[in-house]
Symmetry: C2
């Protein structure tokens, strides 16, 4: 390459798909702060503040609340590889693509994985889950809260009690739902929860906030192996080694904890971003943020319906922050999506597997859970639908959304 | 937490340790650019540009040149877990702490790991490495180029030829050295190389540039397993599954490649930063950047010597970008380092294991390979040495560094 390209200069996009979405500009500004050393006293204090902020976001008292330095998928794998030993039984209720991902990752950890499934667009009852727990006797129940592939939000409130009664560890992937839907780590009895920044938290992908209950921390800590090169007299190997070093939560707990044992070099810029995402949510109030997502999600849902589109799945169990609609007959789904991107700068998504090309997914989350973002998207989608010959009443989508807002603020 | 803390507001620090160092402000600015969707045509083009830039930085024609979304340690583990199957033999020449890390990670991958060692502060001859290759017949030779724990830079030019002659894959961890020391992926016959941004590349930790030779890509591609949920007719499982999903380079190659198969959600802000780090290096010229690191490294070395400090290790094989000196007798090493941080805002490091508390490590890398950073560090260190009773000639350190600069520019 003789002449390098110019500075990064992305086109302006309004990201109204299932995530990632536009980052809150305040998060991006926080990420432009200069670095400090990872053992600087200020940095250790910033890590402690970040833990405390995520305790609020996860609604937990868990001391072990930290960041895994990778995308949300890294958080999922860190949880599973640290909890699961080869041969352990893991039960996964699969209601979309991200349930399959839990199966995939748990299988690579050497688990004996059992699944239960419902058709895409539905969720499980507590009774279905308990029956499967009794039939398979898992060490870990691994469940997604909100699966963006179907937009469904699995109720979790009863699962923790079931898991404790049967001595099962409960892992939850809250990537797509946290911050935009009610979430209660402690009240629901969740043992390990992981998330990402790129959905309702309004940041970029690349950091995975994670919280670990005391009983899960005991299970993980019983597999502590301190690295050669930083090992000290008195360090003894405990239990079966965790198969990954990078995603070893026992090591990451020792790095975040008082021993501050060297592990990875902290991804400081991502930590600044993760801290700001949580800080803005706490400043707004978690309940207020969930209500905001509910309001804009409802406006988008009614707006899409008024555009003549049919909502996919069980609306009663939909996440607040994303809705899927069937692509209307005769409309080329991917071509119409591309037109919305090219002509209006607005991105919406399709889905995976059985739904690929059959639905559009429209998000209202994080920084983009805003009235102007909802109304603009509906206005432009109306134009695209018309261009591809779908029957659409002029102004109906925007009007229906306005009615939701009027009702919500009345 | 009823009242959230304020915006992130790190204290100004001049980071002159072994890394991380201050990020180039241009890199931080690039990272404040707004996000786009990961399948936006612009984003795919930005990924291709980033690959091309890192081909220049790594000096390679490898098509498979990409980012692993985690810190440099994630890149190391991705390389090893993707190359190594349980039971494979891996040979690691250990000349510092990061050699031990390669042993640790390869062991967790299930490898039969053999090591050779030299005392800390030395490197290996090609003959020593070839003898060990003949004795252990490894599948993979895994070697660090620059080990910051000892500051040594292992010569690699002969190792590729040895590996090809004996049909061994050659992996190199170039995290600490890339951009500040001569590096030739193709000319030296390296198969997989991984790095990080937080050393000579002048960015924050959190992205691991990685390049993979065609023969290594064949070995890794022969272990391709497409995930359930995005699998298409015709996808068949190949070979032994890679133990990690997140760090599966076969999947990451398919994500970066023409199939663009969904894997992690791209850590877009880190990608912007990684792209800018490489762009600035290519704009400067790789040879010029190496010469800059050599010049400022020499100035720091002579300045420290003139302060009465003794350099640790084999200076002929030292990395340009970091130097270790013995803590003078009678000076409390960690207390003096803390004083330099507290009173002058300047961070230097100590080391690990046998060198902990016995040496100071001083870096001159990336954005901080600058005259003012070198002279300021020497000026303030002189004050600290004096305060702790070390014999130091006033102005000697700064004077000696100035002489190096005068000679270099003559």
């Amino acid at each position: 390459m003789s002449t390098p390209p110019g500075q990064v200069d992305p086109p302006p996009r309004l990201l109204m798909g299932p995530g990632p979405i536009n980052a809150d500009p305040r998060v991006l500004r926080a990420m432009s702060a200069q670095l400090v050393g990872q053992y600087d006293p200020w940095m250790r204090a910033a890590m402690a503040e970040t833990s405390a902020l995520y305790r609020d976001v996860f609604r937990t008292a868990n001391e072990q609340t930290l960041l895994v330095d990778g995308t949300s998928r890294a958080g999922i794998e860190a949880a599973l590889v640290s909890l699961v030993e080869p041969g352990d039984v893991v039960l996964v209720p699969v209601f979309g693509r991200f349930g399959h991902l839990l199966v995939e990752i748990a299988t690579r950890c050497g688990a004996e994985v059992h699944t239960i499934e419902v058709p895409w667009g539905q969720v499980f009852t507590p009774e279905q889950v308990e029956e499967a727990v009794l039939a398979t006797r898992p060490k870990v129940l691994a469940v997604v809260q909100g699966d963006t592939s179907t937009t469904m939000c699995q109720p979790l409130a009863d699962l923790g009690e079931i898991c404790r009664r049967h001595d099962v560890l409960l892992y939850c992937d809250a990537t797509a739902s946290l911050g935009g839907n009610t979430f209660e780590t402690d009240a629901w009895g969740l043992d390990v929860v992981t998330a990402g920044l790129q959905k309702c938290l309004g940041g970029p992908s690349g950091s995975a906030p994670t919280t670990i209950s005391p009983r899960a921390a005991d299970v993980i800590g019983a597999r502590t192996h301190v690295e050669e090169g930083i090992r000290e007299p008195g360090d003894v190997d405990l239990g079966t080694p965790i198969a990954s070093n990078y995603l070893d939560l026992a090591m990451i707990m020792d790095y975040w904890g008082p021993r501050a044992l060297n592990h990875h070099t902290e991804a400081t810029t991502m930590l600044y971003g993760a801290r700001e995402c949580a800080r803005l949510l706490v400043e707004e109030g978690l309940d207020e943020a969930v209500a905001r997502h509910a309001r804009h999600g409802a406006a988008m849902l009614e707006g899409l319906r008024a555009c003549g589109l049919t909502v996919f799945g069980d609306v009663a169990h939909k996440m607040h922050n994303v809705v899927a609609v069937h692509v209307p007959d005769g409309v080329p789904g991917d071509t119409a999506r591309a037109a919305l991107l090219t002509d209006f700068g607005i991105e919406i998504g399709t889905s995976f597997g059985p739904l690929h090309g059959k639905v559009w997914r429209v998000g209202t989350m994080g920084h983009n859970a805003r009235t102007d973002a909802v109304l603009t998207t509906l206005a432009c989608l109306e134009q695209v639908l018309r261009a591809y010959g779908a029957p659409v009443t002029p102004g109906a989508g925007v009007g229906a959304a306005r009615e939701v807002y009027a009702g919500a603020t009345a």
